[in-house]
Subunit: 102 residues, 2 copies
Amino acid sequence: MTGELKETKKDDENVVYIGTKPFMNYVTSVIMQFTKNANKEVIVKARGKFISRAVDVVEVARKRFLVNQIEIKHIKIDSEEFENKEGRKVNVSTIEINLVKK
Amino acid sequence: MTGELKETKKDDENVVYIGTKPFMNYVTSVIMQFTKNANKEVIVKARGKFISRAVDVVEVARKRFLVNQIEIKHIKIDSEEFENKEGRKVNVSTIEINLVKK
């Protein structure tokens, strides 16, 4: 288990799930959500080892690209239980970073 | 660069820096800060790839050990610039998770 989230949910249009794609793909997604789609709020989500990457994505987006345009509204951490391939229950940590236009 | 923080600051007694030690060391540190030292607030800090680990530590501490005793007061993410061995300026993301007694 890598902890990567599937990117299938249709109604989560303002959510960017962080996984194994090239880093800048996610930064671009965040920027596009704010500019092209004119969203007022974008949520960056990640699980497990991708949590560090989610923080990197947010930091690059807000400090290098959308300078003084967005801010962090709220950060939530949690954990989920799921069964791995061997049928064992394991916990994975999650993060949700809510970004809003200034 | 691993992004690991040095654990040298004497006046940061209620701070737990997450690095490469065994996982449960950090969970134990958080619990000890709250119980033995009777601190009302403990701050878990990490940089770079250790951010995911910091979230894991907090989740295990509050959901498996200090159940219903502590809560997350605030989470802050940021980034710092530093020079690596080759003299290049690189950015590293940081996280601070403030835990308080309920």
